[in-house]
């Protein structure tokens, strides 16, 4: 088991603190009513590149030795990690190669390229993406930065909870979404270290409930064809992240796509902030009453806000 300590998260905070946003913590009396708890929303939708992924990517990129960094970094990601890695690499002045499926939306390709990332298109299978990334690494000598199964990335993601608990120390629980598990693992390590009695929960889409099933059984179990509007959470929980989650988390609740869409709508309409479906999953689990937090003070990580709006969104 890869050991990641709270000191690694403190180290990440020192390394990246001047480069990322210290995102605000917002509250809403109306959302508190809907959840039956007092909620403190950590707004990673306002983070650099629009998601918490900037934290892990920056920590990984700035952990590299100069000679190593000079050859660039590489990953495979159709979403927020690709954009985050492109951004972090540009901050360091080195190239970022991002293997993306040729079916990725123009919106996502444009995000990575706008941030200076070099997109390498591949077939839309997990295997093809891994192979494309391996080929890039072989040919360029770039350092591979996995989206979640990487100690540097996990430590970086943990800085969101570190900031949250520094600003609101007396939380009873903290809730975040889980996909590959990088955010949940980092959150769990940070929260347990700062406040040992805190409860650490996650929300997961019903259509991609591998982490929930694995957590219940104690053995990593993949879901065959994961599917959800929360497209940032389709990854299979990692073999680095899972043991950490298993040890430090208290529960994972699953929510339907309808509940996720409803939660997203409530956050947009009531808080007036844009979150992507994945970013609404933690609140969806709370609003659905799937977590035992009645009357408690709960930190909620709104993980990201990268959503492509329909041309008519918001038009009457």
């Amino acid at each position: 088991m890869t050991e990641i300590s709270f000191e690694d998260i403190r180290g990440a905070q020192a390394r990246i603190g001047g480069r990322i946003h210290r995102t605000p913590v917002l509250t809403s009396a109306r959302l508190d009513e809907l959840a039956g708890a007092r909620l403190f929303f950590k707004c990673e939708n306002f983070q650099k590149t629009g998601s918490f992924k900037a934290r892990g990517a920056a920590n990984a990129v700035f952990s590299l030795a100069d000679a190593e960094a000079a050859r660039g970094v590489a990953t495979h990601s159709s979403g927020n990690h690709g954009a985050a890695l492109a951004w972090a690499a540009r901050q360091r002045g080195v190239p970022a190669f991002v293997a993306m499926p040729r079916t990725a939306s123009q919106f996502k390709l444009a995000s990575v390229e706008r941030l200076g990332g070099r997109v390498v298109l591949c077939e839309p299978t997990h295997r093809a993406r891994e192979e494309a990334a391996e080929r890039i690494v072989r040919e360029t000598g770039a350092a591979f930065i996995h989206p979640f199964n990487d100690a540097r990335v996990i430590a970086g993601q943990g800085t969101a909870a570190l900031e949250l608990l520094t600003e609101v120390p007396d939380l009873d629980a903290v809730v975040c979404p889980v996909g590959g598990g990088g955010l949940l693992a980092g959150t769990a390590i940070a929260a347990r270290a700062l406040r040992p009695a805190i409860r650490v929960f996650a929300g997961e889409p019903e259509g991609a409930a591998d982490a929930s099933r694995s957590f219940s059984s104690g053995v990593r179990q993949a879901v065959e064809h994961p599917s959800s509007i929360a497209d940032g959470l389709l990854a299979f929980v990692g073999d680095v992240t899972f043991p950490i989650i298993r040890r430090h988390a208290d529960g994972i609740a699953t929510v339907s796509d309808a509940a996720i869409a409803g939660a997203m709508r409530q956050i947009w309409e009531i808080m007036k902030i844009v979150v992507e479906p994945s970013g609404a999953v933690a609140f969806a689990a709370l609003a659905a009453g799937r977590l035992e937090v009645a009357g408690l003070r709960v930190g909620v990580i709104l993980s990201g806000g990268n959503v492509e709006l329909g041309r008519t969104a918001g038009a009457p």
Copy 2:
């Protein structure tokens, strides 16, 4: 001409400062690029009731003598002013009667009622709304609070610019939307008083360009059938607000509905905050290059965020 001074705005700030949100001022390097200027967004979408209207309504309601207030307040509004007045009246513990057209959306009716407002439905014509409000006033003795043609309301709306210029004193220009003109009049008085050389601009929908035409000609001219997705800006500029605007503002730019929708989308996607179409009009005028602000430091009032989302908004 109704005289409204900067001291009235300072008085309003003292009266309502503890009741409203001091909304944040946000910046975005990407939106700066699109506008070719350095922008400072005053986020009234985060204001109580979701728009700047809470300022004017609160100032009017809390200006009333106790005996007068006890009989309640009344208005006609299908939008943000109705919700704002209901909220302000509840803060004072008095009833608010809101004449609304029976064609108003369930969303808008529910907003007013959730805030404790008593909705009185009427036919969807301007005349019917005025008559309904007059009847309420006759029957209940409630104090009528016009949405914009009221010195107390104008002074309240001016507190947004007062806060903005207190936080960012060295602005070269300030831009807001114009409908009936309450926000623009209040903004102009506050901005001119605090920084005499500042330029005061407004954006207005092409389909409801009465203020722009009136400003150019010097004579109030209505538009026959105003129409725009910016449904908060359809009102005819008032006979109280217009002389103030004429004296203190530097220009009004019109923008198409397509430009408004595009600006709204950019604000949502890039800043990750929800603004309604009316709230995006000032930025739309800047992004369209309709105002001479190249390279300047410009305050932009994002006036509100009350938008009913389509059920599929944001779904992939």
